[in-house]
């Protein structure tokens, strides 16, 4: 499932492929589902049960590129959608638009570069995508201004219990929700598969307003910094050390009782966990937390290396343990009620 999800293309605002996939997986397993004006897919189980309304969210969209212009030679001018490090773009393959037109991001050959040029990153305005068009007219047959391009890469297992693929932020979250949706809990659970997270938490903002839950938990693929040359105190999470519990990021300070409940549940269930030892970045929990008169919201993450690049890496044990921890947390609500 993670492989299938990773290989679908859903750059922010064109999430239909992932939405369609998820819709097919949840049919018959939920009380009802609907889509809204922005494209969020919202499903609920146990809608008529008593007890608190809990919202679980994961975003369907991924970072990518937008075609903003076509020059006379038929090359496509692009702009980044979401936080992409422009230095990773050179010499990569992409697919563009609904018809998946293949293209490559070219670069000036190293032979023709001045010595100083090699040291400097190539800026986005001088990058382009080549689809093999003869000229502007030829390119316009296959590509429209505004089309979105996604990285083209196969997902799969490698090494020891490791998994690589694009868009693991946040297809891993979607996969976790699809696992949890199989379970039943004795209170209503709203599963929000959201859109446009990478361009400003847009989907979660309106989804939280609509659902108006008593508590929300977001699921993310978060940056792991455990590579050589990264000092320990600058690594936010480490691969293979279990789900990461956030206490704060730039968009939310997580309620302490919620953090403590997650820790307690992890200990009771014997699931290794780690803190996300960083406060950078924003998450959907922030948008949910600020909705209406305020909603308690937390975030659980699967550590991923090389996030927002054409290929990211996670550990399958971390993924499975995040599902276990989330399930144990939801069961703790059955036993003890909400932490807050």
């Amino acid at each position: 499932m993670l492989k299938e999800l990773s290989e679908l293309n859903a750059v922010s605002s064109r999430e239909e492929a992932v939405r369609e996939y998820i819709r097919n997986r949840i049919k018959g397993k939920v009380d009802k589902f609907e889509t809204d004006n922005l494209g969020n897919l919202l499903a609920v189980t146990g809608e008529n049960k008593k007890g608190p309304k809990v919202m679980l969210s994961a975003h369907m969209d991924e970072v990518g590129l937008m075609v903003v212009g076509i020059d006379n030679s038929g090359l496509l001018k692009i702009k980044p959608m979401g936080g992409i490090d422009e230095r990773v773009l050179l010499s990569k393959r992409v697919v563009i638009g609904p018809n998946k037109i293949p293209g490559v991001i070219g670069a000036k050959p190293i032979h023709l570069q001045e010595r100083e040029e090699r040291e400097k990153p190539v800026k986005i305005p001088s990058l382009f995508v080549d689809i093999g068009a003869k000229d502007k007219n030829d390119a316009e047959k296959d590509v429209n201004i505004g089309d979105l391009a996604a990285f083209d890469i196969k997902a799969g297992e490698f090494g020891d219990r490791m998994f690589k693929g694009k868009a693991l932020d946040d297809r891993v979250g979607c996969a976790i929700l699809l696992n949890l949706i199989e379970n039943t809990y004795d209170f209503p659970v709203y599963y929000a598969f959201t859109v446009q997270e990478e361009v400003g938490l847009r989907g979660a903002t309106v989804a939280a307003f609509r659902i108006n839950p008593d508590l929300a938990l977001g699921f993310e693929g978060t940056s792991a910094g455990d590579v050589p040359a990264s000092k320990k105190h600058k690594q936010s999470t480490r691969i293979g050390k279990g789900p990461a519990i956030s206490f704060m990021d730039r968009s939310v300070i997580v309620n302490q009782a919620l953090v403590e409940r997650l820790i307690e549940v992890a200990r009771e269930s014997g699931i290794a966990y780690q803190f996300r030892e960083s406060i950078t970045g924003g998450t959907e929990a922030g948008a949910i937390n600020q909705s209406r008169a305020g909603i308690t919201a937390g975030i659980l993450s699967v550590p991923c290396r090389y996030i927002h690049s054409p290929v990211s890496v996670l550990n399958l044990d971390d993924y499975e343990n995040t599902i276990k921890l989330a399930d144990a947390f939801l069961k703790s609500i059955e036993r003890k009620g909400l932490p807050v």
Binding site: S13, R19, T35, N37, G39, G69, M81, G146, R202, F209
Partner: protein, 354 residues
């Protein structure tokens, strides 16, 4: 009233963000006493000063369309009075390099003419001359004593650049605050056309406030109106030397319909269809974020709105000589009216990405 004369009056009126009453009174007057009173079913001003012009549709369960164009303009604000000179800072994104040597109007107890001055070049060091003068080092000369200045001006009064509207060749015109009073005139054009048309949808033309400070008026007005569809009408960059063609658009070649993540794909398609039906020439822009326009706020109002953006090409944005084509402005109004005619409740039902 011709759209040119309304545009003249509006751009010459005062309405710095948060203090829009000057521009607002022209619109309110036009729709309560003027020609426009026949064109709307209702009109109100909300708590932050947005003007909501409502035109009822014929549908039984009519779709709710909101159009938004902002009436506020960038400007300056008095921060202190020193020896009769005024210290000031900016409201909205002003290029400080265009300020020195401008004539301004200070909106104190009465309107006062002032001149923006700075330390003369003769007494600047060579180092200083190489840099643009900072806004905090400029002053406004009112030609008054401290005592007189204090009696007429207080901290917080707004200041605008003194600039008359003027017509150039080929139906181009130039002035201050075209961004986005031109969009407001496009709304008026749209309502004028709708007067004689039998449309199903309810139309809310919202003339918003405080756009230049972070689309604040649109946040609250779209919450209040809670439309099914919301389209912002703003300006985009006109073609000029030094700008790439995908970021700057031709004057006189019609409105620019914008696509991007925060524009609903069906609204974008419908706008293009409406243009084709009405024979309106149009251009296309792909924009990664509409953060600087009302569309940004409208999209996330309440439980989410299908949003769109139509832009009028304009050169020299955020200066006092903003230049655009009257033809584009009229065509924008026509496009909006055509769009309204295309919308029914069935279309609204289909917006939910089934």
């Amino acid at each position: 009233m011709k759209s040119t004369s309304l545009l003249t009056k509006l751009t010459e009126a005062t309405g710095v963000s948060g203090r829009e009453d000057g521009a607002a009174s022209i619109i309110l007057d036009f729709f309560t006493h003027g020609e426009g009173r026949e064109w709307v079913s209702d009109l109100r001003r909300d708590k932050l000063g947005n003007i909501i012009l409502y035109k009822k549709g014929l549908g039984e369960t009519p779709a709710k369309i909101m159009f938004a164009a902002h009436m506020d303009e960038i400007g300056l604000i008095v921060t202190d009075i020193e020896e009769g000179f005024l210290r000031f800072s900016s409201i909205g994104g002003i290029d400080q390099r265009v300020l020195v040597g401008q004539e301004v109007i200070v909106h104190g107890k009465k309107d006062l003419l002032g001149i923006i001055g700075a330390k003369p070049p003769h007494i600047q060091t060579p180092d200083e001359r190489g840099k643009s003068i900072k806004i905090q080092d400029m002053t406004i000369d009112l030609g008054l004593s401290q005592e007189k200045a204090e009696s007429l001006v207080k901290i917080g009064d707004s200041i605008t650049i003194k600039r008359k509207f003027c017509q150039l060749k080929n139906s181009l015109c130039s002035g201050k605050a075209m961004d986005d009073r031109a969009g407001v005139v496009a709304l008026v054009e749209c309502l004028k056309r709708l007067k004689d048309l039998r449309h199903q949808a309810d139309v809310y033309c919202v003339v918003t406030v405080q756009e230049e400070l972070g689309v604040r008026g649109a946040f609250v007005s779209s919450y209040g109106v809670n439309p099914d569809i919301g389209v912002a009408i703003d300006v985009t960059h006109g073609e000029m030397p030094g700008l790439p063609d995908y970021e700057a658009f031709k004057l006189g070649e019609g409105p620019v319909i914008v696509t991007g993540p925060q524009m609903h794909p069906k609204v974008f398609e419908k706008l293009k269809e409406a243009a084709k039906c009405g024979n309106v020439k149009y251009q296309i822009e792909a924009e990664v974020t509409p953060r600087g326009t009302d569309a940004y706020a409208i999209q996330v109002a309440q439980a989410g709105v299908a949003s769109g953006l139509v832009s009028i090409p304009l050169r020299y944005m955020h200066t006092s000589v903003e230049t655009l084509s009257l033809e584009d402005l009229r065509e924008t109004g026509r496009l909006l009216a055509e769009f309204v005619m295309e919308i029914n409740s069935e279309f609204v039902g289909g917006l939910k990405y089934c």
